[in-house]
């Protein structure tokens, strides 16, 4: 078997985000939620951040960080994404977090909103953020945690096992909350803290979840495509999903674990 150097295909991620950009504001309710949470936390921190970099949250993150209560705390807010259409101006740029084009010590705050799960090199991306931060700069990142989409993962695995087709990696592995604090420490951050909460979203049917993932640009973006999911296996997976994860009213649950990690550059 050949060695796969990268799990994720950055080009595919950019493509999916570009396709999703138009409807992102409506579809990306998780990003909006994470963005508001970031802004709430920043309100609690009593210090100014003259130059902030906001990555990955689209218009929702820019909106949250420029809310009235943060106006005196945050100076310039640079908005970045791997996809230009999701980096609203006035001062926006496009880059990958693993190759950040930011001068050392140039920012006082880096906010990364639900974008690090596509990084092939998460520790490297965190190191890049730390390098970009000035002394006493803050990194505030929201990443998907391991409990994210556990229902869908289980349903797909069960369907594949049942039909004897062998399991495929169809959903990206997500970060572990405790690992995040460790990774921040390894990246050189002081006072690393990670906490997580699980958001349960209820859908009329599991197919609506799949559609939602697509419209927020979160289709799978692996370097090596998994074995194609046949119509039969998919149908069985959706059936299993409904059997195992329905509420009394017939709606199905989908978990999203949002880990919020913070660390200071010293």
């Amino acid at each position: 078997m050949s060695v796969t150097p990268f799990l994720f295909d950055a080009r595919k991620v950019r493509l999916h985000r570009a396709r999703a950009a138009k409807g992102f504001a409506d579809a990306a309710f998780l990003h909006a939620r994470a963005a508001e949470d970031c802004a709430d936390r920043l309100e609690e921190i009593n210090r100014p951040f003259p130059r902030a970099l906001a990555y990955g949250g689209g218009p929702a993150l820019l909106g949250a960080l420029t809310r009235r209560a943060l106006r005196d705390k945050l100076g310039v807010v640079l908005v970045a994404d791997s996809c230009a259409a999701l980096a609203p101006g006035p001062a926006s740029l496009v880059f990958e977090q693993e190759a950040a084009p930011l001068a050392a010590g140039s920012c006082n705050l880096v906010v990364s909103c639900l974008a690090l799960h596509w990084a092939n090199d998460l520790p490297g991306a965190l190191v890049q953020s730390r390098l970009a931060l000035a002394i006493e700069g803050l990194f505030l990142g929201v990443v998907f945690g391991a409990a994210t989409l556990l229902e869908l993962r289980e349903a797909l695995l069960a369907a594949e096992a049942e039909m004897g087709v062998g399991a495929s990696l169809r959903i990206a592995p997500f970060a572990d909350c405790q690992d995040m604090a460790g990774l921040l420490q390894r990246a050189g951050f002081a006072q690393p803290v990670a906490d997580s909460h699980i958001l349960t979203v209820r859908y009329a049917q599991p197919l609506a979840l799949l559609r939602d993932l697509q419209t927020m640009g979160e289709s799978a973006a692996f370097t090596q495509n998994p074995r194609p999911l046949t119509r039969k296996v998919l149908a069985r997976a959706l059936q299993i999903y409904t059997e195992r994860f329905s509420d009394h009213d017939g709606r199905v649950r989908a978990s999203f674990e949002l880990i919020t990690a913070t660390g200071w550059a010293l």
Partner: protein, 67 residues
């Protein structure tokens, strides 16, 4: 081709202050004419589209005669 030429939006000066080349981490030179950010160290020119610098190595133009 239309005869009216709309000038490309200028690169926000607040961006220029903080940007370095993602490949070499060296300085970037702003080529206003071509709307590019040029990294002489890496031999790459990054496009600026509608005022937004695209600092992706995959999208950069390789400079002729670059090292």
């Amino acid at each position: 081709m239309s005869a009216t030429v709309t000038p490309a939006p200028e690169l926000d000066p607040r961006l220029l202050e903080v940007l370095v080349c993602p490949a070499s981490r060296g300085p970037l030179r702003y080529d206003r004419q071509r709307q590019e950010l040029v990294s002489d160290a890496a031999g790459l020119a990054y496009p600026i589209r509608e005022g937004v610098p695209i600092l992706l190595i995959a999208e950069a133009r390789e400079l002729q005669g670059a090292p």
